[in-house]
């Protein structure tokens, strides 16, 4: 099959047929923001961060779900796209309670990185401040819905990679929440294999390993004295 030639931000790029535009853009060394996309999982085109302008098309298209075609002329970083991306990140930050200062993922969080990448120095929208639960009923993992961005990467990783489908989304609109089984505490799920793929896939601190939050850190200061005592007895 012949390679497809397209123009991305003024550069001629050659791509394999059947390849997504996102892959071609990345191969060309151009970085565009993504959130719901994760290599290895199917794409849903939900976060709208990878929208690009394609000449001759009226609507913006998600690069992750658009196939390359011959002669395509693509713009990935126009002022308009930059403005939209910033707005989308603002909307996400305003939706739930994303408090980097107290988050286990701070410093290793895609949402936090995206904020910097799109130049979001403040959120112009009102914070919705929903009352979201934290579920730490599972022995190894926890989920803090305050930090969930509904990218559904956990849902897809669990379904497509682990083949279990413990996770899904319940409710709709801004009230939608990821759930395990019958919206029951994760620890009581009968389908979860505790494989941790949802944890690997989560872009934020929503799904986190148990034992890393401040309150869970193993403190046992009295053991220091115990050790000293023990050594004294041996000497």
């Amino acid at each position: 099959m012949a390679a497809k030639t397209l123009t991305i931000d003024g550069h001629l790029v050659s791509a394999r047929p059947g390849e997504t535009l996102l892959a071609a853009i990345r191969e060309a060394g151009i970085t565009i923001p993504t959130l719901c996309h994760l290599d290895g999982l199917s794409d849903v085109g939900a976060c709208r961060l990878c929208l690009v302008e394609i000449e001759g098309q009226r609507r913006l298209q998600p690069a992750c779900m658009t196939m390359v075609s011959e002669g395509m002329v693509v713009h990935t970083n126009t002022p308009r796209l930059q403005a939209y991306r910033r707005q989308i990140i603002e909307l996400l930050f305003a939706e739930r309670n994303h408090v980097c200062a107290v988050c286990v993922a701070s410093g290793n969080c895609e949402l936090q990185r995206l904020a910097g990448m799109v130049g979001m120095d403040h959120v112009r929208y009102e914070y919705l401040s929903p009352d979201c639960p934290v579920d730490i009923s599972h022995a190894r993992f926890g989920i803090d819905h305050n930090r969930c961005v509904l990218c559904t990467r956990c849902v897809r990783a669990c379904d497509e990679i682990e083949g279990v489908h413990t996770w899904d989304v319940a409710g709709r609109g801004v009230d939608a929440r990821v759930i395990t089984d019958m919206n029951q505490p994760w620890g009581t799920s009968t389908t979860c294999t505790s494989c941790g793929k949802c944890l690997l896939a989560c872009p934020t601190g929503a799904i986190f390993p148990r034992g890393v939050t401040v309150g869970e850190r193993p403190h046992a200061s009295e053991r220091i004295a115990l050790i000293v005592d023990a050594r004294k007895q041996r000497w």
Binding site: V44, C47, R48, L60, P62, I88, E95, A176
Partner: protein, 535 residues
């Protein structure tokens, strides 16, 4: 079943039919106003005088003037009565016998009736929707026979294309082109779906068609299936429409029994089976990819297009999705020819469109009018203006995806392009009339609340944007907004329009944008007198 049998049914039906008939509207609107009680009274009165055979008391579909129900019509005189009460039964029987009667009559010379052009609704009010014989007697299923035996699928598609028919669900995509794409798309199976998830608040034309003339839709679907090569069809009906569902179920069973649906229709090699799928209350399922997800038993969330359902739809197969009114246009085009059809309407919008005229309007109900008629003709002449005679302020078309058109633009012709040019859309046909008492910020807020509640939650701009917009409009309404908030509202509207995944999110800002455009002063009046924030 062959053509002779069809004709025989029609002849038998007409021969059996009593000359004297009392027809009552049995659609939802008139039933809710007491039509069934009137029917019982009429029947018992006739039975008392032994005339139950001589006079036929029959149910018919919607006569259109829903705001004045119950509606009763007598034949052969054709007189039509409105606001009928059970106690009027004796008078109506008297009228049937040529005596005078005091029951209020519909003025059928009123523009509400005379300006209409009935194509889709041509049988409404004439036939009993529960009886396939009635439909066959008015020429039903002849088009299907004609198509199967005398036309190739390509010829059918060609006819639909030449007719200029465009999708009546809102966006106005050329129907022939859609059919051609599905016909060309490779797939081991193909599907035809009738979108009867009429979700726009203020629109009930599809409901009325299904309740009044279900076979018309089934025949249209069967013709489409023949044209695109599908053997299975689905009608996706709102769960809120129990009567429409019941009548469809009956109609499908009757058609199957008569060999008009099912295997080897009209003794040809063409098979077509139709199943009903009942929606479960999600406006977004009117969007075709969400509708498909719903038929597949999943959450009704849309997915990005392309690929379009015409190429990859239900279970990944090529799928034709048209709306109820679109399918209901098909038999007339086959019967009278594409040239006849394309002679009606404007250059780019052919045929007729049904509108549901509601709100602050004297004549509430359904009207079928040729494309190109002006809003003024509809609202002022046909609708008769507001009930109290005060001036009409605006008309909202297209539901939550549409816009508010001010009275100053009422000379706009009703066609896809003209309505889009004034910031609204044709939509499915809701037309809500507003007077001076209606605050336009409230209207925008009402629609945004609707969109917020109906957002599926998949894409961020719609999921969060609708809530933010709703909150901003609420603040505005409560006098807590700053002048800078208007530009913030506009900016967010643009984001949603340009980046939302599906039509719901993309068009959700329309009611806000159109009211901001035409009634900006109503927004500005609500901005706090404090002026610029903080300073």
């Amino acid at each position: 079943m062959d053509l002779h049998e069809l004709e025989a049914i029609a002849e038998r039906e007409l021969a059996q039919r009593p000359r004297l008939r009392i027809l009552y509207c049995s659609a939802t609107g008139c039933q809710a106003s007491g039509a069934l009680e009137i029917k019982r009274r009429l029947e018992s009165l006739l039975a008392e005088t032994g005339r139950q055979v001589e006079v036929d008391v029959g149910a018919v579909g919607c006569l259109g003037l829903c705001g004045r129900g119950p509606i009763v019509r007598i034949e052969p005189s054709g007189e039509t009565f409105e606001h009928v009460k059970p106690d009027d039964a004796a008078e109506i029987i008297a009228a049937l016998d040529g005596h005078s009667c005091d029951v209020a009559r519909c003025d059928q010379n009123h523009p509400f009736f005379t300006r209409q052009m009935l194509i889709v609704r041509r049988h409404c009010g004439l036939i009993n929707p529960d009886r396939i014989e009635d439909y066959i007697a008015v020429g039903g299923y002849r088009s299907l026979y004609h198509v199967i035996h005398e036309m190739t699928p390509a010829e059918v598609i060609n006819a639909i294309t030449r007719s200029g028919l465009r999708g009546r669900g809102g966006a106005g995509y050329p129907t022939g082109l859609k059919w051609a794409t599905v016909a060309k798309s490779p797939g081991e199976r193909k599907f035809v779906i009738c979108n009867a998830d009429e979700g726009d608040p203020g629109a009930f034309m599809d409901r009325s068609i299904l309740e009044s003339d279900p076979h018309l839709v089934l025949e249209g679907m069967a013709i489409a299936a023949y044209a695109v090569g599908a053997e299975q069809g689905f009608i996706y009906v709102r769960g809120e429409y129990p009567l429409a569902i019941e009548r469809l179920q009956k109609a499908i069973a009757q058609a199957r029994r008569h060999g008009l649906l099912g295997a080897q229709i009209f003794e040809s090699g063409f098979n077509f089976r139709v199943d009903i799928r009942v929606g479960a209350g999600a406006f977004v399922c009117g969007e075709e990819t969400a509708l498909i997800a719903s038929i597949e038993g999943r959450r009704g969330q849309p997915r990005p297009r392309p690929p379009y359902p015409a190429e990859s739809g239900l279970w990944g197969m090529p799928t034709l999705i048209n709306n109820v009114e679109t399918f209901a246009n098909v038999t007339a085009i086959i019967e009278k020819g594409p040239e006849w059809y394309s002679s009606i309407g404007t250059e780019k919008s052919k045929g007729t469109k049904i509108f549901a005229l509601t709100g602050k309007i004297r004549n509430t109900g359904l009207i079928e009018v040729p494309m190109g008629i002006t809003l003024r003709e509809i609202v002022e002449e046909m609708g008769g203006g507001t009930p109290d005679g005060s001036p009409v302020k605006a008309v909202q078309t297209g539901g939550p995806s549409g816009g508010c058109i001010p009275a100053s633009l009422f000379d706009t012709p009703v066609d896809y392009e003209s309505l889009a040019a004034v910031g609204s859309i044709m939509g499915s046909g809701g037309m809500v009339v507003m007077d001076a008492h209606t605050n336009m910020v409230d209207v925008a807020r009402f629609y945004m609340e609707f969109c917020k509640d109906e957002s599926c939650g998949k894409c961020i701009p719609c999921r969060v944007g609708t809530v933010q917009l709703f909150n901003m409009l609420t603040k505005l309404r409560n006098g807590q907004a700053k002048p800078s908030d208007l530009s913030k509202i506009e900016e967010l509207c643009e984001l949603m329009r340009e980046t939302s995944l599906c039509g719901l999110g993309q068009s959700a800002p329309n009611p806000v944008l159109s009211t901001l455009h035409y009634f900006r002063h109503e927004y500005e009046q609500l901005i706090g007198a404090e002026g610029n924030h903080g300073s």
